[in-house]
Chain length 131, copies 2
DNA sequence: GAAATTTGTATGTTTGTACTATACAAATAG
DNA sequence: CTATTTGTATAGTACAAACATACAAATTTC
């Protein structure tokens, strides 16, 4: 994460800002771009970068801490943990497919071509298969 | 849609119920399972099925009407329109890829295996390519 | 044609929560 | 031991979701 935090906040979105932040960081974590031991920026620093209140960032950090991704300590900061994925539930998989369908539908409704959408889907799938 | 409205509402989700309903119906529309001329159930009927207030369903219908999917008229009901997709913006495509990445990351974090996730992604991609 | 019924709509209220402001607490550094 | 840097707690404001209730319009029924 270092500093080029490149988290895009969409103020027009109905998704809460702290959730957007948590989602973005989680993506970095899952992708391995944030390794165990890494240190996230202090809540005030990231908040300044993003133009939000530091408590909003803190809420995102706490969300990820609850999921087992982070260890939060005063003065030390937010440290990435080695986290083992839980066993998948059937519900988690159903949620994924449902949201995937709805997200794709929204994209098509917004004019994204089926071919383009398919390309993006396949790109992510390929990345998953390659490890 | 007829009656087996198969809309799953997740009361634990942070997504508003009316949005969940709109998302689900939009997916049906984009997939062509709801053709122009089709009639959606009255707001009170669907609301009863889903266990929510009819105004909540009405808000979902209005959301879709604003997007050009539905024509709403008193006494006649909600009629599916023939809608042409708008021209895609770069923002729409970026939003899609970003959300796609975050959604997949969440699934992996919840224990869904990369292979399984990839399979679902490819399945939707294939459906898009085949038309 | 009048009345009843069936539809979506409008208005007001409550409740939850996102976000912020500000103050606090703890841990490290000097 | 003091100062500073971190996360945390508390309180306030604003907004919006969901509901209850009442309304309006269009069709059906008699």
């Amino acid at each position: 994460m270092s500093d080029t935090s490149i988290i895009q906040i969409d103020t027009a979105s109905s998704v809460a800002i702290y959730e957007q932040i948590a989602n973005a960081i989680r993506a970095h974590l899952v992708a391995g771009r944030l390794q165990p031991g890494a240190l996230l920026p202090p809540v005030r620093e990231l908040a300044l970068n993003l133009g939000v209140h530091h408590n909003t960032v803190a809420e995102a950090y706490r969300t990820l801490a609850r999921e087992g991704w982070l260890d939060l300590r005063r003065k030390r900061g937010a440290v990435v943990l080695a986290r083992e994925a839980p066993h998948a539930t059937a519900a988690a998989e159903r949620r994924f497919t449902r949201h995937l369908g709805e997200l794709t539908a929204k994209a098509l409704a917004d004019g994204v071509s089926p071919a383009t959408a398919a390309r993006h889907l396949e790109a992510i799938a390929a990345r998953l298969r390659n490890g």
